[in-house]
C-alpha cells in the first residue's frame, strides 16, 4: 500500500504541472496576457513622461516579461516547487520571498563596450563596489541597509534598461536611414542579436547619436553592475531569515512553495489562501457528512422497502430538490429567511458576527441572558450556506445507493446467506450494504471536485470569504499569481480526495489491492 500511495503522490506532480501550465497558457493567451495582469497590478494606465516605448521596456523588465513564456512558467514553477535549487531565498517580515538578485539584461556591444580594457574596468569597479560594502550589525540595521541597497540597484537597473532601449531605438533609426530596415523588429527596435548583420558606417551622421547612446548605456551598465554587486553582498550578509531547510548548502533546499505576491491585495498569496482554504474546507467538511448521512440511509431504506410510500416519496423529494438551482435557492434563502424584512432568522452574510472575536467559545447563560458564544455563532452563520450546498446532493447519492442495494439483493451470496439462516436485518446491513459501499466510494470521487466548485457560487451568494470568493476576485482583477495559486490549491485538494477515495476503495473491497 505504501509504495502505491507514494507512487500516486509522485504522479500528482506531473498532473499539477500540466494543470498549471494550462492555466498559465490560458492567462497568457487572454487579451493583454500577463502584461494586462501586471499593468493592473502597477495601477493601470499609460506611464507618464518620456518615450512610451522606453517606459514600456522598463515595465516589461520589471515583471520579466521579455523572456519566452516557457521560461517564465519555469521560473514560476521553480518558486512553487517545494524542492529548490541554488541559493536559498530569504523571507522578510511580511512573508515576501527575497531571491538572489536577478542578472542584468545583456549589454549591446556597440563601440568600445566589448573592448578588453572596458571589461577589465567593469570588473574592477564591481570588485571595488563589493569591497566598499560593509554589512551593518544589528539585524534591523542590516535589513534597512538591504532595502536601501535594493532600491539603489533597482534604480540603476531601470536606467540601464532605459538606456538600452534608447540604444536599440537609435540603432533602428540608423538602420532605417542606411537602408537596412529589414533588421528592425515589430517593436521598432533593433535587437542585439541582429547587431552582427548591421553594416556600420561611422561617418554617417546618425551614427554619432548611436555612439552617444552606447556610451550612456555603458555607463549605466557599469553603475548597474556595481549596484548589483553591492546588492549581492548585502544579500549574502543575510539580512532576513532563510526560507526552507537546506539539504546541500547552496545547491539544494526544501521549503514551502512560494505562491507569489498578490499585487491587488499587496499580501503574499500563500497567507491569503491559508485564510480562505480552511473556510471552504469547513463548509465542505460539514456538508459532506450531511449528504452521506441523509442520502445513504434514505437510499438503503428505499431499497429495503422498494415500492413503498417512503421509496416513492424520498425519490420524488430528492429529485425535486436536485432540480432547484443553487443561485435561486440562495437568493431566496437570503431574501426570505435571512432578511430582516421577512423572517430574519439567520445572518445575511459572512461566517462570524462582527463581535465574534470577543465571544466566549461555548454558549452560556449569563446575567445578561443567553450569550450564544463563538461556536454557536459559527453554526448559526453556517446554516444557510451549508443547506444550499447540500440539498442538491441527496438525489444522486440516495438513488445510487438504492440502485446498488437492489442490485445486490439479487446477488447469489445473498441467497447463500438466506440459506444459512441469516436474518433479513443482517443480510441488509452486513451483506448487501457492505457490497453497495463500493460504488458510493466512487461517487465520492466525482462529487468532491463538484462540491468545491459548487461552493464558489454559495460563497459568493453568502459572502463567505473562502477559496471560491478568492478565485472570483482574482479572475475579475487579473491577479495572475492568485489565479495560479488557487489552481494549485484546488488541484491539490481534488487530487488528494481522489487518492483518499482509492485508498478507501482498497479498504472496503479486499479484491482491490495496490501491491
Amino acid at each position: 500500500m505504501l509504495p502505491y500511495i507514494s507512487r500516486r503522490l509522485l504522479f500528482m506532480i506531473p498532473t499539477l504541472v500540466g494543470m498549471t501550465l494550462m492555466v498559465y497558457t490560458l492567462i497568457a493567451l487572454a487579451p493583454g496576457g500577463f502584461s494586462a495582469s501586471a499593468s493592473a497590478a502597477a495601477g493601470g494606465g499609460a506611464p507618464a513622461g518620456g518615450d512610451p516605448r522606453i517606459a514600456e521596456a522598463k515595465f516589461r523588465d520589471r515583471f520579466l516579461l521579455d523572456e519566452p513564456l516557457l521560461t517564465q512558467y519555469g521560473r514560476w514553477l521553480a518558486r512553487v516547487f517545494p524542492v529548490k535549487f541554488g541559493t536559498r531565498a530569504q523571507v522578510d517580515a511580511t512573508g515576501e520571498r527575497i531571491y538572489w538578485p536577478a542578472s542584468l539584461p545583456e549589454m549591446i556591444a556597440v563601440g568600445d563596450a566589448a573592448s578588453p580594457a572596458e571589461v577589465q574596468r567593469l570588473a574592477e569597479s564591481m570588485a571595488a563596489a563589493r569591497a566598499s560594502f560593509h554589512a551593518a550589525e544589528p539585524e534591523l540595521q542590516r535589513q534597512a541597509q538591504y532595502r536601501q541597497v535594493s532600491r539603489e540597484a533597482k534604480t540603476a537597473r531601470e536606467s540601464l534598461v532605459g538606456a538600452l532601449a534608447q540604444l536599440r531605438l537609435d540603432l533602428a533609426e540608423y538602420a532605417a536611414a542606411t537602408g537596412q530596415s529589414a533588421l528592425v523588429d515589430s517593436r521598432g527596435e533593433l535587437p542585439a542579436s541582429r547587431l552582427v548583420a548591421l553594416r556600420v558606417d561611422t561617418a554617417h551622421e546618425l551614427w554619432s547619436s548611436v555612439a552617444a547612446s552606447a556610451r550612456v548605456a555603458n555607463d549605466a551598465y557599469a553603475k548597474a553592475s556595481a549596484a548589483r554587486a553591492v546588492l549581492e553582498a548585502s544579500f549574502e550578509s543575510r539580512p532576513f531569515r532563510e526560507a526552507g531547510v537546506g539539504v546541500i548548502p547552496g545547491v539544494l533546499s526544501v521549503g514551502a512553495p512560494d505562491l507569489g505576491w498578490s499585487r491587488t491585495k499587496n499580501r503574499p498569496v500563500g497567507s491569503l489562501i491559508l485564510e480562505a482554504l480552511p473556510v471552504t474546507l469547513l463548509i465542505n467538511v460539514v456538508a459532506f457528512p450531511l449528504i452521506y448521512l441523509v442520502a445513504i440511509p434514505a437510499g438503503m431504506l428505499a431499497a429495503a422497502r422498494r415500492g413503498s410510500l417512503f421509496d416513492v416519496l424520498s425519490g420524488g423529494v430528492f429529485i425535486a430538490l436536485w432540480s432547484i438551482p443553487v443561485v435561486w435557492a440562495g437568493v431566496l434563502a437570503i431574501g426570505f429567511l435571512a432578511s430582516n424584512q421577512y423572517l430574519g432568522l439567520f445572518p445575511v452574510a459572512g461566517l462570524h458576527a462582527t463581535d465574534s472575536a470577543s465571544m466566549p467559545f461555548l454558549p452560556s447563560w449569563g446575567a445578561a441572558g443567553f450569550a450564544r458564544g463563538w461556536l454557536l455563532d459559527l453554526v448559526w452563520h453556517l446554516v444557510l450556506p451549508v443547506t444550499c450546498l447540500v440539498y442538491a446532493g441527496f438525489a444522486v447519492l440516495s438513488r445510487q445507493t438504492r440502485a446498488a442495494m437492489l442490485d445486490n439483493f439479487n446477488a447469489d451470496y445473498v441467497r447463500t446467506a438466506k440459506a444459512k439462516g441469516v436474518s433479513r436485518r443482517d443480510i441488509v446491513l452486513r451483506h448487501v450494504f457492505r457490497n453497495s459501499l463500493l460504488p458510493l466510494i466512487t461517487m465520492f470521487v466525482s462529487i468532491f471536485p463538484a462540491m468545491l466548485s459548487g461552493s464558489v457560487v454559495v460563497e459568493k451568494i453568502f459572502s463567505v470569504p473562502g477559496m471560491g470568493s478568492l478565485m472570483l476576485e482574482a479572475i475579475s482583477l487579473h491577479d495572475a499569481e492568485m489565479m495560479l495559486a488557487n489552481t494549485v490549491m484546488i488541484g491539490c485538494v481534488s487530487l488528494l480526495a481522489l487518492l483518499l477515495a482509492d485508498i478507501l476503495y482498497a479498504v472496503a473491497d479486499p479484491r482491490v489491492s495496490y501491491a
Binding site: 446477488a411 447469489d412 447463500t416 440459506a419 444459512k420 451483506h431 479486499p510 479484491r511
Partner: protein, 406 residues
C-alpha cells in the same frame, strides 16, 4: 425423529408465480410428492424450468413471495410442516437442519468477507459455541471437504514412507512422532490462513468446497444440492460428488441432488425422481429406472444421450419419443386405463378421465415403481401409496475411508 422414518416428506406441493405479462399464474410445481430418507440420495432430474429448483427453494422457503405463492401441499420435516413455520422458526431450520448448496459457486460467496467470516457466521448462528470453538468447527469442516495445500500432500506421503521405515525398525519411533506433529502444525496453519483469506483467491472447485464446508458445518440432516457440480470441470465434479457421498454416509444425512446430468445420477443417486412441467413423471430406484424406463419421457431422456460409436446424421431427441403415441401404449396396463401422463398428448390418444379437477396422478404401477398417469377411472379406483422408497445402494467405497484423509 426416529431413525427409520423419512427425513423429509414433500406431499402434493404446488407452487405458482405471478405472470408479469398479465396472463394466468405460472404453475411451477403442480402436486409434487417425494421423500428423502437418512443416508439416501434422491436425484431430481428434468429439463430446465420443470420445477426442480423451485421445489428445493420452497423447502427452504427462499421463494420470494410475491411473485411466488405456495398453493398447497405439505413439506414435513421432523414432524413439522415447514410451510406453516414463521420466518423466525424457519431461520432456525435453514442452515442448521436443512442446508443448501448452489450451482454458482463463483458468486455464491460474499466477496468482501473472508471465508472464515462466512463459515463462522453459519456456525455462530446455529450453535451455542464460543468464537474459538467455532473456529475449531470451521477448521474441521474444511478438513472434511479436503481443502489442503500441495505441501501437505507431500508431507503426508513422506509421513507414510517414514511409517514404513519405523515399522521396519530402521528409524526411531520418535522421528515419526515429530513428523506427525509438524504435519499437524502445518495443517492447522494452512486452515487458519484459509479462514483469513477472501474467496476471490480460490478457484471454482475450491469455492464449492468452501460452500459445502459452510453448509455442512452445522451438521444438517438434509442437504439440498442444487446442481452442485454443473459449472465445474469433470474431474473436480467427480471429486465433489465423491466427497458428498462420503460425508453423507458417515453422517446419515439425506440429500436431494438436483442435476441435468444422467451420468451423475447413475453414479450417485439411490432413488430418481424425473420431473416434467412441475410434476413427477417417474419415480424409481436408480438401477430399475436405468434398466427399464417406463414413461416415454424418461425413455426419451435416455435415448437422446448419444453413444460414442453412434454415427448418425441426426440424434434422437426427446420429442421423437414423446410425439409418438405408440410409445404411450407400451406401458403395462394400458388397456385397463393406465396411460402415461403427458401434457402434449393429442386429444385423440388421451384416455377418458375420471371426473376430477386434476387430470394427473402419480400411480404405483408395480411395487416400488411410480409413473405419472392420466387420472382415468381405473387409476382413480385403485389409489396407491405416495412415492416413498427407503432404498439405498450398497457402497463399497464407503466402508474404507481413503487413507489419505485422517
Amino acid at each position: 425423529m426416529d431413525g427409520n422414518g423419512p427425513l423429509l416428506e414433500v406431499a402434493d406441493l404446488a407452487v405458482s408465480f405471478d405472470n408479469s405479462g398479465g396472463g394466468p399464474r405460472i404453475q411451477a410445481v403442480a402436486g409434487l410428492s417425494l421423500t428423502i430418507h437418512p443416508r439416501q440420495t434422491l436425484a431430481v432430474v428434468g429439463e430446465s424450468g420443470c420445477g426442480k429448483s423451485v421445489t428445493a427453494m420452497t423447502t427452504m422457503q427462499l421463494i420470494p413471495c410475491p411473485p411466488g405463492r405456495v398453493d398447497g401441499g405439505t413439506i414435513l420435516f421432523g414432524g413439522r410442516d415447514l410451510l406453516t413455520l414463521s420466518e423466525r422458526e424457519m431461520r432456525k431450520v435453514r442452515g442448521s437442519e436443512i442446508a443448501m448448496i448452489f450451482q454458482e459457486q463463483m458468486t455464491s460467496l460474499n466477496p468482501v468477507y473472508t471465508i472464515g467470516d462466512q463459515i463462522l457466521e453459519a456456525i455462530l448462528l446455529h450453535q451455542r459455541v464460543t468464537a474459538d470453538e467455532a473456529v475449531e468447527i470451521a477448521i474441521r469442516a474444511l478438513e472434511e471437504v479436503g481443502m489442503y495445500s500441495p505441501i501437505e500432500s507431500r508431507m503426508r506421503r513422506e509421513l507414510a514412507a517414514l511409517k514404513v521405515e519405523v515399522d521396519a525398525q530402521r528409524r526411531a519411533p520418535a522421528e515419526l512422532l515429530q513428523a506427525e506433529s509438524s504435519l499437524g502444525t502445518r495443517m492447522r496453519a494452512t486452515r487458519l490462513q484459509l479462514l483469513r483469506d477472501y474467496p476471490h483467491r480460490y478457484s471454482g472447485g475450491m469455492r464449492q468446497r468452501v460452500m459445502i464446508a459452510m453448509a455442512l458445518a452445522c451438521k444438517p440432516k438434509v442437504l439440498l444440492a442444487d446442481e452442485p457440480t454443473t459449472a465445474l470441470e469433470v474431474t473436480i465434479q467427480a471429486q465433489i460428488l465423491e466427497l458428498l457421498d462420503e460425508i453423507q454416509a458417515t453422517r446419515g444425512m439425506g440429500m436431494m441432488l438436483i442435476t441435468h446430468n444422467l451420468g451423475v445420477v447413475a453414479e450417485n443417486a439411490d432413488v430418481v425422481c424425473v420431473m416434467y412441467a412441475g410434476r413427477v413423471v417417474e419415480y424409481a430406484r436408480v438401477e430399475e429406472l436405468f434398466a427399464r424406463p417406463l414413461h416415454p419421457y424418461t425413455r426419451g431422456l435416455f435415448r437422446s444421450i448419444p453413444g460414442l460409436r453412434d454415427h448418425r446424421a441426426r440424434l434422437t431427441t426427446v420429442e421423437d419419443i414423446v410425439d409418438d403415441p405408440a410409445e404411450f401404449r407400451k406401458l403395462e396396463g394400458y388397456e385397463k386405463g393406465v396411460v402415461p401422463w403427458w401434457p402434449f398428448l393429442p386429444e385423440a390418444h388421451r384416455p377418458a378421465l375420471a371426473p376430477s379437477r386434476d387430470p394427473y396422478a402419480l400411480h404405483e404401477i408395480e411395487p416400488d415403481r411410480w409413473v405419472g398417469c392420466w387420472r382415468t377411472p381405473h387409476v382413480e379406483a385403485h389409489p396407491t401409496r405416495r412415492a416413498d422408497l427407503t432404498y439405498r445402494r450398497s457402497r463399497s467405497s464407503v466402508q474404507a475411508a481413503p487413507s489419505d484423509r485422517s
